[in-house]
């Protein structure tokens, strides 16, 4: 996750670097530290350092880190020749390294040679069966090939050991959602909420899944999680506001006739609607009419 202040700093540095103001190395370090994906910039500016032997030698041992970074960026940009050169240089320096082996595997992946990449990763795993990154690469490779069931299987196997890895849980949750396996996805999102209880996005996603599952109980829970999202984001999340409205409507339909809980919930619903209206007026005034129409429809139906 990139914090707001870090992002400001990153954008400032990127601007400076783009306009030739120096600080290229600092920019690249920050990109690496925050793990953001700005491959085109990294490729352009990283190469400018690597091609200048004076600048390159000034880095000392960090030179190889830069080679790795540029190689990954080049793979991302499909500049396979550049990536190949970088990896070759790294291999000359570290002939036995597993980390370089991983880069080679990624290059094979980028070329679309799935079988070869698979073979490369498997041989790396033989050396060190607990290499998390390579396990993840194998899973993402399965996903890239469209083999979702293999990806799910791989993720389950991975999570059996590394069960505290919340990024893997999120990936699994998203795959399950894409396959409409909402119960499984709900479990993954619960796991995410447990590991990061203050991240509103997990609450929101969990609420979405529960809302989609439907049923009175799930809808009630979903509404609570939308409320939690509103609380955590300070009411700035449009999706959560809509979620509250939709949940209330759906609940109202389901519990028609025995409206005993209607009273207490109606307030939150109307508040959310008002907040939505205000937000639209402020940020997209031309769409206010659409909003009022939608909300009106919801109430009628």
């Amino acid at each position: 996750m990139v914090g707001a202040s870090e992002e400001v700093e990153l954008n400032r540095l990127e601007n400076q670097v783009d306009n030739g103001g120096g600080g290229v190395w600092e920019y690249l370090c920050l990109v690496r530290k925050l793990k953001v994906r700005r491959s085109d910039k990294v490729l352009k500016h990283g190469l400018s350092i690597l091609n200048d032997s004076k600048k390159r030698s000034k880095l000392g041992g960090e030179e190889w880190t830069l080679y790795e970074q540029v190689a990954v960026a080049a793979i991302d940009c499909q500049c396979l020749d550049v990536a190949k050169d970088c990896i070759k240089a790294l291999q000359k320096q570290f002939p036995e390294s597993r980390r370089v082996g991983r880069l080679e595997g990624m290059l094979l992946e980028a070329k679309g040679l799935w079988a070869d990449a698979e073979k490369a990763y498997s041989s790396l795993l033989e050396d060190n069966p607990l290499d998390q990154v390579i396990h993840k690469r194998k899973i993402s490779m399965a996903k890239a090939q469209g083999n979702v069931s293999a990806a799910i299987e791989g993720l389950n196997k991975y999570l059996d050991i590394y069960m505290a890895d919340h990024d893997a849980w999120r990936e699994l949750a998203e795959i399950y959602v894409s396959l409409q396996l909402y119960r499984q996805a709900a479990f993954c999102y619960e796991e995410l909420i447990l590991s990061q209880p203050t991240v509103p996005l997990h609450h929101l996603a969990y609420a979405d899944v529960l809302y989609t599952l439907g049923g009175v109980e799930n809808l009630q829970i979903a509404k609570k999680y939308y409320a939690a999202t509103i609380d955590l984001t300070g009411g700035k999340n449009t999706r959560a506001l809509y979620g509250i409205c939709l949940c209330t409507i759906a609940l109202g339909q389901l519990t028609k006739g025995r409206n005993k809980e209607d009273k207490e919930s109606s307030e939150l619903h109307s508040l959310a609607a008002t907040a939505l209206g205000k937000d639209y007026k402020y940020r997209a005034p031309d769409k206010v009419s659409l909003l009022t129409a939608t909300l009106g429809n919801l109430k009628l139906s």
Partner: protein, 246 residues
């Protein structure tokens, strides 16, 4: 009361300074030797998994109130049921670290390597110092000390009439042995300066038992009361929205 001893400058040139220099050089040499002998140990899958289980169970305990009661109960059963719960450690299977060490020769080997790089040079230097420099009064510290420091500063001299602020050569060796850490961290980089005192601490901390932390985690999970926090959030969200609308 005691008249000052006059120390020969030759003692400074041939005992005090060489001793310190040799200690520093030996420390550096030992660092490189231990770097050569260090084997990169691959962690066991089971140990990794146990660590991850503990983290996950701790997460569950900390944030239990954020998930619905049903989900919490199913998770708790998954972790701590008596048949195959993740946190349940069958009796007898919890091996103590000593036994584990003997069953795994690699671990014993590792310990031995560490010990070798620590003990052998130490014994050798101590023998060397004892042989060549025993009995010298090598230095004088510029402030007076109480009698209790006699055993620390005048090791190897059995004279009670010498003032305590005089340091014997053997004590100078000990002072160097334990006091050069700052210098090493300067020369070898911050994290590389593992001196002997630190290593001894590591040795004593060796017997950490992962199965024990699993059991502790299970117990605290068992007594946890689940109280769903989300109903409160609805009111809080209302308050937030009210504030926003105003």
């Amino acid at each position: 009361m005691a008249e000052d001893l006059v120390l020969d400058t030759a003692i400074r040139d041939w005992v005090l300074i060489p001793l310190s220099v040799v200690m520093v050089l030996i420390g550096i040499l030992r660092y490189f030797v231990s770097k050569l002998m260090r084997s990169s140990q691959t962690p066991d899958a089971k140990i990794v998994k146990e660590g991850q289980i503990v983290v996950r169970a701790r997460n569950l305990r900390a944030a239990a109130n954020f998930i619905p009661a049903k989900s919490f109960r199913s998770r708790r059963a998954y972790y701590s049921n008596e048949e195959n719960g993740l946190l349940h450690v069958p009796k007898g299977q919890a091996q103590n670290p000593q036994a584990q060490m003997f069953s795994d020769p690699n671990m014993a080997m590792d310990m031995m390597k560490k010990n070798l790089s620590m003990i052998i040079p130490q014994t050798l230097t101590f023998a060397w110092v004892n042989f060549f420099f025993s009995g010298f009064v090598a230095a004088k510290i510029p402030f007076p000390l109480t009698q209790r420091f006699r055993s620390m500063l005048q090791n190897g001299i059995d004279l009670s009439s010498v003032d305590v602020s005089y340091v014997s050569s053997r004590s100078w060796y000990f002072l160097n042995l334990f006091g050069l850490r700052g210098l090493f961290s300067l020369i070898l980089g911050e994290e590389n300066a593992t001196d002997d005192t630190q290593r001894m601490m590591q040795m004593s901390g060796f017997g950490m038992d992962p199965s024990k932390s699993l059991g502790a985690e299970k117990d605290s999970l068992d007594i946890l009361q689940h109280e769903w926090a989300l109903p409160k959030f609805e009111q809080r969200a209302e308050a937030v929205l009210r504030k926003l609308i105003k």
